[in-house]
Symmetry: C2
Subunit: 281 residues, 2 copies
């Protein structure tokens, strides 16, 4: 069992797929199949259960993944103990305000704990600009909700973001009259859609639409009793001081994709970050 076997194993375990792991590592699927097989033979234990939608870890596999993570982390640390400047690369990630406000700082702080030799940057902007920046190489990757340019960009990771409806104190959430919907202009349509959807399903009658372009202004507006809006649950949780606000968790989440430019060779830092996303999920 060599460290490279563990790298392959880790990738398969995290992607829960032999072929995805192969693609990601730049190998052909059959190779990964074989190497996992020989690893299993060597250890004398099945590491994965093969179900036809991919593979999932067995108990023993979980044990090994834990070791693999520890070993590979140490290996990385050892490498970066040499040539520090050579490895000190910058990762630049784009995100809309709702994500850059809470999720990204949280992720980065965990990421930097593991990879001390990297610099990270966030660029907050609207979806179109971010996509352009990504395409022109100013960003390494990008968090988006909703559709994106699938011709040139590809999603390498995604997760569900819980969202909550927020309203001023004592607001009558279900009353169909005199409702004001506060939407943001910075997250294209997902949040707006979710809000409109809520509006419709409660048969709101001709609600007023207020649009703001920063997260702060929306929060202010709700606090001042202007109307209701929708935000990621995380953002709200991180601002406990923001009561007096009523909030209501919505059953449907929003799917958030981490997208990158389509290309064969990703920069080292980006690979690390993607791998980190899968690890921490």
């Amino acid at each position: 069992m060599e460290s490279h076997d563990l790298l392959i194993f880790k990738q398969v375990a995290e992607r829960q797929s032999v072929s995805k792991a192969a693609e990601n590592l730049g190998y052909v699927q059959s190779n990964i199949s074989q190497r996992i097989k020989s690893l299993e033979d060597e250890l004398g234990a099945k590491l994965f259960v093969r179900n036809n939608r991919g593979v999932t870890l067995t108990d023993k596999g979980t044990t090994l993944l834990d070791y693999a993570n520890r070993i590979l982390l140490l290996l990385d640390e050892a490498k970066s103990a040499f040539n520090p400047q050579k490895w000190r690369e910058t990762l630049t990630i784009g995100a809309p305000q709702t994500i850059s406000a809470f999720k990204v700082p949280q992720l980065f702080s965990l990421f930097l704990k593991k990879h001390k030799n990297m610099d990270v940057k966030v660029r907050t902007s609207d979806k179109q600009s971010l996509q352009d920046m990504l395409y022109y190489g100013e960003l390494d990757g990008l968090f988006v909700h909703g559709p994106y340019d699938e011709g040139r960009l590809e999603s390498v990771y995604s997760y569900e973001q819980n969202i909550v409806l927020i309203a001023p104190e004592k607001w009558e959430l279900e009353t169909p009259y005199n409702q004001t919907l506060i939407v943001n202009s910075f997250t294209s349509c997902s949040y707006r859609d979710a809000l409109l959807h809520y509006s419709e399903s409660n048969h709101f009658y001709d609600p007023t639409i207020l649009e703001f372009d920063t997260l702060e202004s929306i929060l202010q507006a709700v606090q001042n009793g202007l109307g209701i809006s929708i935000l990621p649950e995380d953002v709200l949780n991180s601002r406990k001081e923001l009561s007096p606000i009523e909030c209501k968790k919505l059953s449907e989440g929003i799917k958030i994709n981490f997208v990158v430019k389509q290309r064969k060779y990703q920069p080292h830092v980006l690979k690390k970050f993607i791998s980190f996303l899968w690890e921490s999920s």
Copy 2:
């Protein structure tokens, strides 16, 4: 940088020699040379200083050795998390009383901390029996002082054992008359020689020779004022309760060899133990 590179590196670092490491790992010297070179190239740092009696670690090499030890230990642990019964092997080591009394338990306790999945045994006896036992496969290895059957056994590790002269309280160590030398019958000649050598260099006149066959009896004899003797420093330090005894450190130590049977493939546990000896020196 793969774990196998680290294994090779570790071996070279511990033996301070490319060729010794090669021999030990069952490779040819040129291969190890090349792999160390390519490891250095990869990390962009010299790991060893080549002096014509071998190689020694640079500062960066020391850093890497630390990582290598941690990584390889984790790898071993991961392996032994599988097939526990298969890997639970027994290591049987022979030693004369003077070594089995202190050095061996100390070594074993450290060894078992690192390799939790092994059993260890000590066999204490006289040199000739131990050599026979080793040759007939009842022992994996053997600590000896002084000469051993070099035709059939080979030394794979050695160290210097400090020795001290012990005497009853208020004994006149330099007086040449009426001295009694207490020798042991269980460590062939090294200790006896050291004692006789001391006797001669102090021009002792016709000293009495007392022979005992256990460590305990010698200690008792000295405590009871019978005469002087010689013991490993360690043994004495571990028995602080044994004063009233005078002791005097001698400048010359005794060379102790760890010897094994000459053969191409050593059992896994033995390899681990030998590696451990080099590591901890």
